[in-house]
């Protein structure tokens, strides 16, 4: 960790291309703020994204960024983390990216407990492709690809993560930046996989899920709540609709994936010699004897 990080270290000249009022602005702000709060300098993180409105995020801040393809940021991030566990690896991507096309990586990242933070910009619609229903769209949502309303009940990110073995699960809201920042900080501070599902208003294509809409149903989980209590978490995870809890819903300590990889026991593989003999002490001439 570097000393004396300030928010300005994360400033970048590129103006976001998001629509005015888009919930992604607040997420950007919170990502920058939480990294600053954690005292991490821009080079200490790698933000991996997919494709979508929200996935453009790293282009708007000074940070290492890998803007990958639709649905794959979790896999890219997992590879980067395994190669260099010292990096703070964060994924930001939309709901379509994360739970639709990328759903399988999400599922397996949860149980794998790979030490990345997955922030889902969950606007419950496909933004960048101009407004089709997404895996988290509410039933009945009328879009250009669901003229009679979406038929499928939505994916429930929090219960799914819980069932799938995630060790840190939280929900944030673009309308509450301070809380969101704190949640991000806790997520990035968590050892192991962390999911933060962010209720992110898409003012253009999902006006029904606006700031006002959410303001009516959200509430902050109180301090008494113990996220390490799995049974309590199950109850909390169920809450949706009339009352949507914000905050850390579940937290568990379990060895991370990368901790358990033998080859990483002596530090990040990328910091060690590429020469296998130097790295491992094995004499390759000896290795060949296996075949003699």
């Amino acid at each position: 960790m570097s000393e004396e990080v300030s928010l300005s270290d994360y400033q970048y000249p590129t103006e976001p291309t998001w629509c005015p009022g888009c919930g992604d602005f607040a997420i950007l702000r919170s990502v920058k703020a939480s990294l600053t709060d954690l005292g991490l300098a821009p080079h200490e993180s790698l933000i991996v994204t997919g494709i979508g409105c929200g996935s453009k995020l790293p282009h708007y801040m000074n940070v290492n960024g890998f803007h990958s393809v639709h649905g794959r940021p979790v896999a890219v991030a997992t590879g980067a983390k395994m190669a260099n566990p010292d990096t703070n690896v964060v994924v930001t991507a939309g709901d379509g990216d994360s739970y639709g096309i990328g759903g399988n990586h999400f599922l397996h990242a949860c149980r794998r407990n790979i030490g990345i933070t997955q922030i889902v910009e969950d606007n419950r619609v496909y933004g960048l492709t101009k407004g089709q229903y997404s895996p988290t769209s509410h039933k009945g949502f009328v879009t250009k690809t669901s003229p009679e309303g979406a038929i499928e009940p939505p994916v429930r990110p929090v219960p799914t993560a819980l069932t799938s073995g995630a060790t840190f699960i939280a929900r944030a809201f673009s309308g509450q930046v301070k809380q969101m920042t704190e949640i991000f900080s806790r997520a990035m501070g968590h050892e192991g996989y962390a999911l933060v599902d962010v209720l992110q208003p898409c003012v253009t294509f999902n006006p029904g899920r606006s700031y006002d809409f959410y303001n009516d149903v959200i509430y902050d989980i109180d301090d008494e709540y113990d996220p390490t209590d799995r049974e309590a978490a199950k109850e909390k995870a169920k809450e949706w609709g009339d009352r949507i809890p914000l905050g850390v819903i579940y937290k568990e300590d379990r060895p991370t994936y990368e901790e358990q990889v033998p080859a990483l026991s002596e530090g990040p593989i990328v910091n060690r010699s590429l020469d296998p003999e130097e790295r491992s002490g094995v004499d390759l001439e000896e290795l060949k004897r296996e075949f003699i």
Binding site: H43, H59, F66, H67, S68, T87, F291
Partner: protein, 584 residues
């Protein structure tokens, strides 16, 4: 009496240990100073179903199996039926006395039946039926006068982990097999005699050689989803991962595999993905991502016959076009296609340097025949001296001295931009699969776009010029007949050349191991200066031939093709040469 020149075929059911028996016998032959070539023929099932292991032995290095069997070792009744036709006149069949082969199977044939009570020997001497294979190998030794000490030595090494009594029992069974045959006075006109001279040789297959090459080439990360016939690369590297400090991940799918490799490659690892055609097809989108983001990765694509699931355990070279042109848009890649076990090693070793020097995906295209074939090779052929060249990778010091912003995708003469591993405070940067500017930020500017396309493709040209040397010649410079091929057809073609030249013709052979981009100029020269060219490929359409035409305009109508899932033999090639000549 034929000396040190025979083909032994061991036939039996899947799950009967054909492979380890064959391997063990090959090791024994190697210890005796002989040169075996071994290959497996197996199906996509775990137990039952006829499999076989073919071992051709010679007193000098051979690169291929060939048609016909001198000695059939039948571990099932089925094996006799399946392979009887292939036996040369004067050849023999070793089989279990207790088999019910029906009467008269060997009548009217110039084949010598050698019944041996494998199973009884195994149970009597070793105490377990599974040792029947060992009895059979002992019997082979007895028939050919092969010294069982070489067999026993290998038994000791291979069964050591199972304990002394298993070792001993097996040795007894092998000796009993030999003794039985000798006691019967079976006559057989073949001899396997040790070639003296203490020389270590490695018994290794194409996949293992590639894996060893990858280790030597600095590979320190592999993410791969199992897929025949690539899996043994993953498995060999996994076996050694803890010892060699290589990060290994078997993830949820090929989509995960390649994207993890990209993440790792971006983070600074030398990352490898292994797969076969179907898995590669799932990686196509991200191949383009690696190209666009200039991320070094190596993909080992071990081909099997397609389309689709095809023939999972068999061989073909049908993926060339799909690999060369995979992914939307014109995107950069290099493709190597090793032809021999030695080349598989070298490709494994070389691919990582190429990937890092040119910051792009490198595909090593192999196939089942190469992957699973085994030979005895002098260890010197596998040069494990480590020389890592990461190309234009910026050191800490260079980054320290950097003036102005770091430009990840800087325009340069060669197309290669000096690369920084993320994590350095002097080079905080982005990259993206979107078109981007030199900093890695998204652009929509038409001129930048054009220059970035030029830059990426320029790297391929640079690599072609600086790294690739063109087709490799075997045989005389000038010839009346020139073979051209790639990949595992090498062995059969090489021997065809030898045989044709022995017969007094003038034949030579170019094989192409650097297969994309093609050294078009050199290839064109070869084609133009050849009196007659024959392209040999293990696929339906002649994919290399078409690629050559695409790149050179030279037509290559004479193609010897085979796409039945089985590898070529010299005999098959020679027969086709003759057919073609007759047509003329």
């Amino acid at each position: 009496m034929k000396k040190n020149d025979m083909t032994v075929l061991i036939g039996g059911d899947a799950g009967q240990g054909i492979q380890s028996t064959g391997n063990g016998f090959i090791q024994s032959l190697t210890r005796a100073g002989l040169f075996p070539f071994g290959r497996q023929d197996y199906r996509s099932r775990i137990r039952g179903g006829h499999n076989f292991f073919e071992i051709r032995v010679s007193d000098e290095q051979i690169y291929t199996h060939s048609d016909g069997v001198d000695l059939l070792v039948a571990l099932t009744e089925d094996s006799v039926e399946k392979h009887l036709e292939e036996i040369f006149p004067g050849g023999g069949v070793l089989y279990d006395e207790d088999f019910d082969l029906g009467s008269g199977v060997f009548d009217d044939r110039d084949v010598r039946p050698f019944p041996v009570p494998f199973t009884s020997i195994a149970t009597d001497e070793g105490g377990a039926k599974v040792m029947a294979n060992t009895a059979a190998v002992g019997a082979v030794a007895g028939l050919t006068g092969f010294d069982t000490s070489f067999i026993n030595e290998i038994i000791k090494e291979n069964f050591a982990v199972k304990g002394d009594s298993i070792v001993e029992n097996n040795v007894q069974v092998a000796e009993a097999g030999r003794e039985y045959v000798e006691s019967k006075g079976y006559e057989f006109d073949y001899e396997l005699t040790p070639i003296p001279g203490e020389k270590d040789r490695m018994v290794i297959d194409g996949n293992q050689a590639f894996a060893l090459g990858a280790v030597t080439g600095g590979c320190n990360f592999i993410s791969a989803y199992p897929m025949t016939p690539s899996t043994s690369i993953l498995e060999w590297l996994t076996k050694h991962s803890a010892e060699l400090d290589i990060v290994i991940k078997q993830p949820e799918s090929e989509l995960a595999a390649i994207n993890m490799a990209i993440g790792a490659g971006h983070a600074g690892a030398r990352s490898l993905v292994t797969t076969s055609g179907g898995g590669f097809s799932l990686m196509v989108e991200s191949l383009g991502l690696a190209g666009m983001t200039e991320t070094p990765i190596v993909i080992a694509e071990v081909q099997r016959p397609g389309p689709s699931t095809g023939l999972p355990t068999r061989t073909e070279q049908g993926d060339l076009a799909s690999v060369v042109f995979a992914s939307q848009g014109d995107s950069p890649r290099l493709v190597l296609a090793p032809a021999t076990i030695e080349e598989a090693f070298r490709a494994g070793k070389r691919a990582f340097d190429l990937a890092e020097k040119y910051q792009l995906p490198v595909v090593v295209l192999s196939d089942q025949h190469l992957a699973d074939s085994i030979r005895a090779i002098p260890p010197e052929e596998f040069d494990t001296s480590v020389e890592i060249d990461r190309g234009e990778l910026l050191s800490e010091e260079e980054l320290e001295k950097l003036e102005g912003d770091y430009l990840r995708h800087e325009f340069t003469e060669s197309g290669v931009s000096p690369r920084a591993i993320p994590g350095n405070k002097n080079a905080v940067y982005k990259t993206t699969g979107n078109e981007h500017d030199e900093r890695g930020d998204i652009t929509e500017d038409p001129d930048l776009r054009t220059r970035m396309m030029d830059k990426r493709m320029k790297k391929v040209d640079t690599a072609l010029e600086k790294e690739f040397s063109g087709p490799l010649l075997y045989g005389p410079e000038n010839a009346d007949l020139t073979f051209v091929s790639w990949g595992s057809t090498y062995g059969a073609v090489r021997e065809s050349v030898d045989r044709l030249n022995e017969d007094g013709t003038k034949t030579n052979f170019y094989h192409i191991d650097e297969i994309w981009p093609l050294k078009a100029g050199k290839i064109k020269d070869i084609l133009e200066s050849s009196r007659r060219t024959l392209l040999v490929e293990n696929n339906y359409s002649g994919q290399l031939a078409s690629l050559i035409t695409r790149e050179t305009g030279a037509l290559t109508p004479d193609r010897i093709l085979k796409y039945d899932g089985r590898p070529f033999t010299p005999e098959r090639i020679l027969a086709e040469v003759q057919d073609l000549e007759e047509v003329e």
